[in-house]
């Protein structure tokens, strides 16, 4: 089982994802503040970060860039409610393992996490 962080400026969204993935046996931490999430990765080994594109102070891609500097092996799944060519391109360039669109149903989330962790 993996250690996963979820970062979304909407607390309910982060907690919902945490609940789904915890049930699969993963260790999940949910955050709404960018800095707290980055600090957590600094102190703990993390397999996967699920990042919303639109955050309070930074973009999800900027957070991904920071995390990769701290922990290159941490994988990233980007979530967005407003997919665009630019954000998709950016996310993949900065090493995101997957770019998904919200709303995402439970089965899609589970299969995406499984596929990314397996890769």
């Amino acid at each position: 089982m993996a250690t996963i962080i979820v970062l979304d400026d909407v607390a309910d969204a982060a907690i919902m994802i945490k609940r789904i993935l915890s049930r699969q046996g993963h260790m999940v931490e949910a955050f709404t503040e960018e800095q707290q999430a980055i600090d957590f990765v600094r102190k703990n080994p993390v397999d996967l970060a699920i990042l919303d594109m639109k955050l309070l102070k930074m973009t999800g891609v900027e957070v991904l860039e920071e995390l990769k500097k701290i922990s290159p092996s941490t994988k990233g799944i980007m979530l967005t409610g407003y997919p665009t060519l630019e954000t998709a391109k950016q996310a993949l360039e900065f090493g995101a393992a997957a770019y998904c669109v919200k709303p995402i149903d439970r089965a899609e989330l589970e299969s995406t996490v499984a596929a990314v962790l397996k890769a």
Binding site: P83, Y99, C100, D105, T112, A115
Partner: protein, 863 residues
């Protein structure tokens, strides 16, 4: 009614010449009857349309409302002519209801209210207000000007996806084209004859409309604009001498809430110099049978769906196809994205004639293929697949719902989006719908692999094209030309899923095809209509013999022998939804036209102010006109004494019947008919009219027993809703007959309306006829329906031609010799007595049929 008018005119001249005032009044009455007849026929047809029994072009509905308004205006005018200065408030009531009907009819055309062409000031209006040509980017958010397809494509471009450079020939150009050729009124004349319940007439009507468009002149200013647009696009091509063009329909309403998938036309590889003809052809395709059918089914008026045209340069495609942004994966939980592709241009895919390469992909980036099936010759790399996934996700997010996207990949590997429209999702299955238990098929008892005892699986593993289940006998479609003759309720077996099949989606229970994919245009239309469709049945003809009763379980990808009651739930639900949709669509218009609220002539609101609909006005005027004619109005208003014909005489008999006779000449015995100062009543022996004698025999001397007051039901309530003819003392509820030696016009009064009998019974068989109308009546709708069924049964068995529309029955016996007319009238006399007794008694159709047989087996001669 024409014959009646002629007859009455003849008698009218002879009778009332001495009393000019009475003669005029009588003429007005005749004209009122004719307009009343016309009004009720129009009401009956509108009721059928509102109830979904007929699907007609909105042009017809509008036209019928106009005709009805006119006919009712005539009824009102004639009543006022019968009693100048009377009926205060009647003209105002008519004006009020007419205005509401007009408002309703116009409000039903919301899409054309934004007409960019001013009504006057030259055929093309001001070019800056209503451009003939728009760059694609300016089509954004202007579907009323650019059509749905172009507006959507502009949005795709705005989202940063690659689309070909395009120019839009606007709806303003379309209107200018129609105006120049004065096509609108000519098209409307044909459109108002469009009735989907008469599919055999559709083809010729639509061909007529296309011929109008193809034969019309494109105004020079538009032709010039078309040539300039075509040249501009052509010259952007790298091809030597300029590139070829795609000319695509972009109608208002297309690719919006309704898809119109494949109903209109696109022309590919058009040389720029052919642009004017191509434009005309694409506009003409608006009147293809399938497009008109689709539009009428959706209730959209023709002028609410004007045709813009999108000009695009041809893409030299290496491969092309369709993608569905959000599909259900059959094997996995969650949604997936499906890509359908063919080498070259994608036309063979959407026309349903080729099996594509199909890939299902996870809805995320980078692309992950879940599974692949089908055709060879297409290899889409990881980069292209990722681009397609992103395209699907971006467009779904932007439009806010799943999308069907047409795409093409050019020789350099660049992905172009050609079109995007909403993808009709499969409806959620109802609880319990998963259980399929067809009845044991006839003659088959072999083991089956479906796991259900008794169900023989004829085919399994078929491709789901549109979900659902349907049941019916197999019908093989021999040729496209045979589509109008497809029997209702069949399971249609076809080779390919051509878009022309859209014409029959309302008539068939399911479709089974040899080939054709979910990405075809017809699949979109079928999903919208909730019609189950499967494909991939190679040996279709061998496995599904003509006439075999089968159940198509499209959701489960299989065909089973036999049929089961439980499976009919789906189609029934579709019908219920359709009825509900129609009821909502027509609620307002029905209230202003057909609804009858004025039912009780003795109620205080039986007045012009109480009229809420055109039907109410007809009812009111007819009631009052009859009262005027038979002089019954005198009781209400002493000033009016003498206004009535004053010659109506009451028939004296022991029957509980209040009937007034008005002799037009030779209808009563001279001794009985003359003699001033006599008591006004007349005995039945005084009747000299041949048809009235026959009717009287049926009414009084045939052994039919009359209703008396010893009923077990509440008499007052019964009397309120039942036949007024049978109430002895109410003059307002009396019936009357106009008589001559060989003529009878009888109005038998019922609580709601009338039975009308009109007959000529003379020596010339050619001129003789019996016309009988039975309309409405009181009682519950079900009882009314059963009673109409009883009458229909009796009269059809007796040689009448019968037509039932709503709760109105019309029966006619024509060109019969006098003996046959006499027998028919005796029968009708008996029928009037018998149906009077039947008002409250009918329980079901079986009982109605048995009673009809009993009735027919009795002789009708005096006992």
């Amino acid at each position: 009614m024409g014959q009646l008018t002629q007859t009455l005119s003849r008698w009218g001249q002879a009778l009332f010449a001495p009393a000019e005032r009475l003669r005029k009044r009588y003429e007005a009455f005749k004209a009122l009857l004719a307009a009343d007849e016309a009004s009720l026929l129009l009401v009956a047809e509108l009721e059928e349309i509102f109830a979904g029994a007929r699907q007609v072009d909105p042009a017809r509905t509008r036209w019928l409302c106009g005709q009805l308004t006119e006919a009712v205006g005539e009824v009102v005018e004639r009543l006022l002519a019968m009693h100048p200065g009377g009926y205060a408030g009647l003209s105002e009531a008519f004006a009020r209801i007419r205005a509401r009907v007009q408002a309703c009819v116009q409000a039903r055309l919301p899409l054309c209210s934004a007409s960019p062409l001013p009504d006057s000031g030259g055929p093309l209006g001001s070019p800056c207000l209503s451009p003939l040509v728009l760059p694609l980017a300016q089509a954004l958010g202007r579907p009323e000007l650019a059509g749905g397809k172009a507006a959507n494509l502009a949005a795709v471009q705005k989202a940063g996806l690659r689309v070909p450079p395009g120019l839009v020939i606007t709806t303003a150009a379309f209107r200018a084209f129609l105006d120049t050729g004065r096509l609108r009124p000519r098209l409307d004349r044909l459109l108002r004859q469009v009735d989907l319940s008469r599919p055999e007439r559709l083809g010729p009507l639509c061909a007529g409309m296309r011929a109008l468009v193809l034969g019309a002149k494109v105004p020079e200013v538009l032709a010039q604009a078309l040539r300039e647009a075509a040249d501009a696009l052509s010259q952007q091509s790298s091809e030597p001498g300029g590139g070829l063009l795609a000319v695509r329909s972009s109608a208002v309403g297309e690719d919006g809430e309704l898809s119109f998938a494949g109903q209109y036309a696109s022309e590919l590889n058009v040389p720029p110099e052919d642009i004017v003809d191509a434009y005309r052809r694409v506009v003409a395709a608006k009147y293809r049978t399938r497009a008109v059918t689709y539009r009428v089914r959706c209730g959209l008026p023709d002028d609410g769906a004007p045709m813009a045209v999108l000009l695009l340069p041809m893409i030299g495609a290496a491969s092309a196809g369709v993608l569905h942004s959000s599909d259900n994966h059959p094997a996995q939980a969650g949604k997936c994205l499906s890509v359908f592709a063919l080498p070259g241009l994608g036309e063979a895919l959407v026309s349903g004639s080729a099996e594509p390469w199909v890939a299902r992909l996870a809805r995320r980036l980078p692309a992950q293929v879940l599974d692949v099936s089908g055709g060879a010759g297409v290899g889409l790399g990881q980069t292209v697949l990722s681009e397609l996934v992103l395209t699907g996700l971006v467009l779904e997010s932007m439009f806010g719902r799943p999308q069907e996207v047409e795409w093409a990949l050019d020789q350099e590997g660049r992905l172009f989006v050609l079109q995007s429209r909403a993808h009709s999702a499969a409806p959620e299955p109802l609880p319990g719908e998963e259980v399929v238990r067809p009845d044991r098929a006839q003659g088959s008892c072999g083991p089956d692999d479906s796991g259900e005892p008794g169900a023989q699986t004829l085919a399994a593993g078929l491709s789901l094209v549109a979900p659902g289940r349907g049941c019916g006998p197999i019908h093989h479609l021999a040729a496209e030309a045979e589509i109008p003759r497809i029997p209702t309720g069949c399971v249609l077996a076809v080779d390919t899923l051509t878009p022309a099949l859209a014409r029959c989606v309302d008539r068939v229970a399911a479709v089974a095809a040899r080939s054709g994919s979910r990405a075809s245009h017809f699949a979109s239309v079928a999903r919208e209509a909730g019609l189950p469709v499967v494909s991939g049945l190679e040996d279709l003809r061998a496995r599904l013999p003509e006439g075999l009763l089968v159940t198509v379980d499209a959701t489960g990808g299989r065909i089973l022998a036999g049929c089961a009651q439980a499976l009919l739930e789906g189609p029934r639900r579709r019908q219920d939804e359709e009825r509900q949709r129609l009821a909502e669509r027509f609620a307002d218009l029905a209230r202003q036209t057909c609804h009858l609220t004025l039912t009780d002539p003795e109620a205080p609101d039986f007045a012009p102010e109480g009229c809420a609909s055109l039907h109410d006005l007809v009812r009111f005027c007819h009631e009052k006109a009859v009262a005027e004619m038979v002089g019954l109005g005198q009781a209400e208003d002493s000033d009016r004494s003498g206004r009535g014909l004053g010659k109506a005489r009451r028939l004296r008999s022991d029957l509980p019947l209040s009937l007034y006779l008005l002799d037009l000449g030779g209808g009563l015995e001279p001794t009985a008919a003359s003699g001033p100062g006599r008591v006004n009543d007349i005995a039945p022996e005084g009747i000299a009219s041949l048809p009235m004698q026959a009717l009287w025999q049926g009414l009084a001397l045939s052994g039919e027993s009359w209703q008396d007051t010893g009923l077990s039901c509440d008499w007052q309530e019964f009397d309120r809703i039942s036949a007024g003819i049978f109430r002895k003392d109410s003059r307002l509820l009396a019936s009357y007959a106009l008589l001559s030696a060989d003529y009878l016009h009888l109005l038998v009064r019922f609580g709601y309306h009338f039975a009308v009998l009109d007959s000529l019974c003379g020596p010339r068989a050619e001129a003789n006829y019996v016309a009988f109308r039975f309309k409405g009546g009181g009682g519950l709708p079900e009882q009314r329906r059963l009673r109409i069924g009883f009458i229909n049964h009796v009269l059809t068995s007796s040689g009448f031609v019968v037509r039932v529309r709503g709760d109105m029955l019309d029966a006619r016996l024509s060109r019969a010799e006098a003996g046959a007319v006499r027998r028919a009238l005796i029968l009708l006399g008996r029928l009037l007595v018998r149906t009077q007794r039947m008002d409250t008694g009918l329980a079901d159709e079986g009982q109605a049929a048995r009673l009809a047989e009993d009735f027919l087996s009795a002789s009708g001669e005096a006992p």
